[in-house]
Structure formats: structure tokens, C-alpha cells
Symmetry: C2
Subunit: 225 residues, 2 copies
């Protein structure tokens, strides 16, 4: 699948794959594809007694993923490594036995010591990546962040250097097992995630048309392949 | 909202709410509602250098949530606390400024020292909870786990005693701010997640009808309110 000369993802022990039915995608382009397809991540934050897993929006470029730092940075311990996981669920795999049931999904796990973004230019650029990933076209349509708002926003940067990507997209694997003789139905139950038509705020001018960059998303898949 | 006499969720410092626009739901029934509506969780596992965030299926009853332990239990450190987070994304909130943009979601975060389920009866009951939560009706339709399969399956139990629930389900909050004078469109872009018609495995008997407990899910919302 690799069409890029960028180096493959690192293969440290914990990013090696050890689950059944999952196919490791060792190329950087696969990591970018999962990040492109998702828009919510779960950030694992080391805490005193254990961990905290916080859902967050994100944006990214070739080398870095940016996340809002609010909760996460409260407990930012110097040098502690975070894990950022993006998971897209594509469906259920219904097999002929309980044991063979599974889920089809695309998942990227990124391990990095987060960096608080202090540089004003990088902060603005990082926030723009987050905003445009979630809501393309909004950055130039709405009022940009004020100096005060920028100061009140914490942004974390995580390097994409160490990551693993797992993709599971097959049907049940017991079609040629003894369980096939049970004569049971087996297959996949795919999941479809789409944007619905936008719902205007009560306060907007009467009869105002929905801008094309928003209206055009209605009916579109939220996690394209 | 509470219709139960069960105690409210604990209010330890970290489960107190400190984000804007989010409404804390302090009742146990709200936790159960989020767990019912989701089916994938992100488990935060304490690791030597930091943390690991692993997507996993789950099942639950009034007091306990069960998750597959495969990856997670490899590094099960005695007494370390895990965090299990279930997030359902309901849509985007498109405001009149970048700063006011947000996401509508339902989220439950559970903190617990996990327990490896050894008791055979509890393991079977816990696996049934997981299976029936993901695929209702399959447990009694397909071949149940063999003794060998049960032994090969690790199941973790996490108490629901300490948890927080956050629900954000409002439109943009800047309708009565100075930004309203900008005359921009603002509103919500809701997300719709539904099961598609089941796709039969190539190996099943030709012309076999899809069982009602599977066929009936097509078109149904995957994360009902």
C-alpha cells in the first residue's frame, strides 16, 4: 500500500501485533489514512494512581498530531509518555461460535511524550489543523481566535514517530472449521456513520442559507475508507 | 432523572466536572444509559513508561463492567488503577467563532483496579454479558465456548463504583454574544450511526435466511438515546 518514501512506523515491542485476525500496516501512509478517517481520539494520560482516558478532537500533519490540552495538561508530568488512540468501528463479525466473534475496525495508537505548544505561530497553525479536520471551511468562515482566546487554549503536540496501526476488515474465519457443519448463519453486520442535515441555531437570521461547506456534508460518511 | 435508589456516582476530585458546556449526570442510571448506548470502550492501561489505550468490547451489569483482557492483562500490575472510557459522538457544534466550536457527546469514565475473573461461572456470565451487549441473541444461537476456549479467554472485571458521566447535547452558546452580530450561520451537524443490512459469509448454505435477531438490526441506530 505504501506510495511514499517516508519511513515505516517503528517496531518497538509494544507496537508489534499480537492479536488474531488483525493485519499490521507498517507504513506511514496507513497511519495518516486512519487519522484522516477518524476525528475523535482517546488520550491516555498518566496519573498518580493510574491513568485517565479522555476523549478529544485532534488535527495532524505529516509528523505531528495536535490535541486540545485542557484536562490532559493539568497533570502533565515531565517526561511521561502519553498514548493517543483513534478507533473507527466498521462493523461486527458474527461467527458460528461465541469465541470467533469479533469487530472490524481501523485503529491507530500513537505513543509520545507530549509537548505543550507555546509558540504563537505553531499554536495557531495547530488549532487550524484541528478545526479544519473536524469542520473543513469553518476556520476561514467564522471569527478567528482572539489573542485572549489563544492564550486560554492549551494545545499539546505529539510526534507521530512511534505508532502502530491495526486494521481488521474480514468476515468470520470459521467458514472452513468444524463449526461450519453447524449450518448457522454467519457474516458481517456493517456500521454506517453519516452526517445528518445541519440543524440551525435558533438565533441565526431567518431564512439564512446554510453555507455550502456545511450543507455539503449532509449524507456524507463521517469515516470514509 | 434518577428513578433508582442506588447511590449516586462518587464525587472524587477527578470525577468532578471542570469543562464548559458539559452537564454532570450524577446518577447511576445515567452511567448505565451511556454504557447501554455504546459498545466499544477505550481501556487505559498503566505501563512502565506511561500508558496504553486499547479499544475493547465490553458488557456490564449494575455493579461491574467486563472487558476482554488479552492485551490489557499482559501488563496487569498489582493494584494499579485502570480507566475505561466509553464515548458516543452525537454531532458537531458549529459556532460563530473558532473558540466556541465543540462536540456533542455522551461519555462515561470508569476508574477501577481491574480484577482477573477466575471463577468459571462468573467468567461464563461475564462473557455472555459482553456477547449479548454486542450481538443480542447470538449467545443462544451459536456454539457456546468450549472449556478450552474459556481457558484461553481472559476477562477483566472493573467495579462501577467510581465513575463520571458527561453529556453535552446543546447548540452553540454564542447566540447572545457579540459574535451573533456577525450574521454567520451557526448550528449543529448531527451524526447518525446505524447498522447496515447484514452481509452473509461466503460459506453459509445458499438461500439461508438471516435469523431475525440479526436481520432486525438493519437500519437501527447503533447508539440509541
Amino acid at each position: 500500500m505504501a506510495e511514499t518514501a517516508a519511513p515505516g512506523l517503528s517496531g518497538t515491542p509494544r507496537t508489534r501485533l499480537n492479536r488474531l485476525r488483525e493485519e499490521g500496516r507498517a507504513e506511514r501512509s496507513d497511519l495518516q489514512a486512519v487519522l484522516r478517517a477518524g476525528f475523535i481520539a482517546h488520550l491516555g494520560v498518566p496519573a498518580a494512581a493510574g491513568v485517565m482516558v479522555v476523549p478529544t478532537v485532534y488535527g495532524f500533519d505529516d509528523r505531528t498530531v495536535y490535541v486540545h490540552g485542557s484536562v490532559a495538561s493539568q497533570s502533565l508530568a515531565a517526561g511521561a509518555e502519553y498514548c493517543l488512540t483513534v478507533t473507527i468501528v466498521d462493523g461486527l463479525v458474527l461467527a458460528r461460535s461465541v469465541f470467533e466473534h469479533s469487530v472490524n475496525y481501523r485503529c491507530a495508537m500513537i505513543y509520545a511524550v507530549p509537548r505543550i505548544v507555546d509558540d504563537a505561530d505553531e499554536k495557531l497553525a495547530g488549532l487550524r489543523l484541528v478545526s479544519e479536520h473536524l469542520a473543513p471551511g469553518q476556520w476561514d468562515y467564522v471569527r478567528p481566535p482572539s489573542r485572549k482566546e489563544l492564550a486560554a487554549t492549551r494545545l499539546l503536540a505529539l510526534s507521530l514517530d512511534e505508532a502502530s496501526v491495526k486494521i481488521s476488515d474480514a468476515g468470520p474465519s470459521d467458514g472452513d472449521s468444524p463449526d461450519a457443519a453447524l449450518g448457522l448463519w454467519a457474516g458481517q453486520l456493517p456500521l454506517d456513520t453519516r452526517w445528518l442535515p445541519p440543524v440551525p441555531d435558533a438565533g441565526i437570521p431567518a431564512g439564512m442559507a446554510v453555507p455550502a461547506h456545511i450543507a455539503g456534508r449532509a449524507g456524507q460518511p463521517a469515516h470514509p475508507a
